[in-house]
Amino acid sequence: MGKSNKDGGAAWVNYVGLFILLVCYAGAFWNVISAKRQESRADVIRLVHWQLELGVRDGLESLIEQFEAYKKEQGQTVEVVQIPIPERAYNQYVTTQLIGGTAPDMIQTGMFPTEYLGRFFHPLSVYLQQPNPFNQARLNELESADNLSEDEQKLKEALSSYADGPWMNAFTDGLRSQYQETFQEYFGVGFSTFTVRMYYNKNLFQKALGHSRPPESYAELLEFAKGIQRYAQESGEEVLPIASSKYQVNVFKHRYMANLTGNLARKFDLDRSGGADGLEKLMAMLRGDFTPWTPEYAAAIDAVQQLAIFFPKGFMALGREDSGFAFVQGKAAMITSGSWDALSYLNNIKNQPADKRFEVGIFDLPVITAEDEQFGEYAVGRSSEAAAGTGFAFGITRYTRHLDLCVEFLQFATTPEKNTELNLIAGWIPVVHGAVPGELMKNFEPNYVGYFGATSFDIMPGGKALLLEDQIYWPFISGDFGYDTYAERLWQALPAEAATDFKRMYESSKESIPNRQLRRSAFLSTMVLGEQSQEARITNEVNLQRSLEPLLKLMINQKKIDHMLAKTLDQTPDDPRVQAFNQAFFRALDRETSN
């Protein structure tokens, strides 16, 4: 009896399993059938992105509706389907779809390995070098119209400067940020741009400081923060001067590093390319020109540390959301974050009880200028946002059956008027010349004024030296130990980590050559065997030249490093601290090489 009961239980579980499997199969079948049916009644293009913010999806939906209506007028039934995927699952989703050959027509670029672009996406340079017909058509319309409004007049002026030129010229950054140097190709068309600013609580400023103007200098930022701290102590009100987490510390660090160490980047730039790369920084360390005691570097670290006094206790354990939450609840006077948070901050503040709502002001992170008493002698200036670039970009996958339609959608979406509308709804910054940012976004418009370069101990992206600097920085900024300990620990441990990075960089240049050779061979064969019209031939020649640039860099990289190192060793000073660093570095390098 007992036995039969057990069997009966097992059978029941099996049937449940079978049922679930059948439901999954049925669901999958239904998906395929409905997709087929949809495709039989219209040309369907699917686009996937990770922007789950309500405004963004709404903005995109509005664009889609207008595009579908436009195509319908032309006699073509088109359906554009947006598929929002949560950020956490995005990479996995995209990878599965691309490798399985079932990817949607367009994919928001990013969050997946760059290598995918070359393997699974259509290069877009050919299209981007042609005019966008929607811009040309709109310009013609405006030119033949009488009595243009002021806005239309401005739009006409903007369009006339680029409408008959390459489509890429329509973008405020010329779409440079979508150019992939590795492949020497453009793979994405962006819709928005992003910058970082400081938000502040004007009501709290008024209460605590007696005014509601933003700080105009770094010294004033410290002074205002002190004033707010004093107000909190005296009034007993639980308010923080600056809401912060690890994320925000990185923003401050990045800004003040650029502000104070930009000149070092030019000083260490051996090949005069416009900045010091990781190897040039390493050479500066070996020469003793760059150490944790270099005044510019120490000043930048100090500048952030002085601000950290005003961060909440235990800020290291807080998340970006926690600090944002503190600000919108009126518990912090200031916070630094990007334009992408503007709409959600404002909405959250609006949703607070009436007595908790407050007016938000926005200002750029105050720059340390030459007049600054503490750090003025190292001040370079603000960091330029000329290369802020375009984000929220879409690439077209090689699996699409509607390449031309996808290109047309992207062209339609990036006229000044459509770009204005999308970003107005999304609460983001437009990227097309002639597009008008919403009132709130005017504070975030990229500022061309400023300088470039920053110098820290990172030798290669994601490298061990960078990791080490990070590991020692966090306990230091949390107040666990002082700058002397920070500098000593960093300088002692750096040679071994730098040697690992150096070896990886030296060897990786050779390891990457076969992949670049393969790409070069593809372009060379296309040139010889592909279409032979004069225009196609020139395009293929250009493609070949572009594919050769990264290959050549790799081919001569070891020679460059050897030459740089030989020259550096001739300039090593007698300073015992530098000698010790060099000995430790070369010992570690020997160990690395013999492993």
Partner: protein, 308 residues
């Protein structure tokens, strides 16, 4: 009665139905297959490419399409990132050459063979092929590609006499070549390499001549935006700090600021261009740069006044 042991068969059947329903058919004609094979090759899907090339080869052996498919298969053997078969590739290339292909196809095969010898460390054999391509095809991309690879192969260390000699020889060859900005062939990238060789050997005048050529014959379109911007910065910096020619420095800073205004270096270059009288206030205004207010311009042009 339903038996669980039949489930696997049931699901296999369903899966076949599924695949049959969802699968898209591929190309069937040799021309389409060949096109698809090269497309797969360009996307680096070498297994797919190989399958299409093999199909074409089995149907079109002895024809020009068959020869092209064989070339594709040889290239896959040679350039596959893992599991390359250089001996097999070499044998196939020789078969192709023996079949008497069109001139440019034969050049392509010789170019690939030179690569193959370089991979195997057979410098002399590689040089013989590269020299032949340079002699016969210098006015084409294939010949210039051979010249580029020859320079890298024979230059030795940066800063050495050998490197300067290699650059001089290439320079002489290049002087025979006429190019235009519309069709620069590979002259920009060759100029960049020769500039680097001279720069690292401290032959600065020769270096700047080649770097300048990179920025005049080449453009952001034919090379790359970031490299062009970087090369202009380098030229300006060399003229400013090494050759002590502020006018020339101003010229290149001006080009950087006006032609590459999306570069992070642009504002720095603008300041320098103003400092060296290379740009007027009206010209800066016309650039309509975000954040550059009249107040900032006053400040920048006041510095220029002080210098004068």
């Amino acid at each position: 009665m339903f038996r669980f042991r039949y489930f696997p068969f049931f699901f296999v059947l369903l899966s076949f139905l599924w695949v049959g329903f969802a699968d898209e058919s591929g190309p069937t004609q040799p021309t389409d297959m060949l096109e698809r094979a090269w497309e797969e090759y360009r996307f680096l899907s070498l297994d797919q490419a190989k399958s299409y090339f093999n199909q074409v080869l089995s149907k079109e052996e002895g024809t020009s399409r068959g020869l092209e498919a064989k070339l594709g298969l040889a290239m896959i053997r040679q350039y596959a990132e893992s599991g390359s078969d250089l001996t097999g590739a070499e044998a196939m290339y020789k078969e192709i050459l023996a079949a008497g292909p069109e001139t440019e196809v034969a050049d392509l095969v010789r170019s690939n063979l030179a690569d193959l010898h370089i991979s195997r460390g057979e410098k002399d054999a590689a040089l013989a092929l590269l020299d032949q391509l340079i002699e016969e095809r210098l006015h084409s991309v294939i010949g210039q590609d051979a010249l580029l690879r020859k320079v890298v192969l024979v230059m030795g260390e940066f800063g050495s006499e050998q490197s300067v000699a290699a650059a001089r020889e290439a320079e002489e060859k290049l002087s025979e070549v006429e190019v235009s900005t519309d069709r620069p062939l590979l002259v920009p990238i060759l100029s960049s390499l020769l500039g680097d060789i001279y720069f690292r050997a401290d032959v600065i005048e020769s270096a700047v001549a080649h770097y300048e050529r990179y920025t005049t014959i080449g453009s952001a379109h034919s090379t790359n935006y970031a490299s062009q911007a970087s090369q202009l910065y380098r030229l300006a910096n060399i003229y400013e700090n090494t050759l002590n020619q502020p006018d020339k420095a101003g010229h290149f800073y001006r080009r950087l600021a006006t032609e590459y205004s999306n570069s992070q270096m642009a504002y720095y270059a603008l300041e320098k261009a103003i400092l060296y009288n290379a740009i007027t206030r009206d010209e800066v205004r016309e650039l309509r740069l975000g954040g550059v207010t009249d107040e900032i311009l006053d400040e920048l042009f006041a510095v220029k006044g002080e210098r004068n």
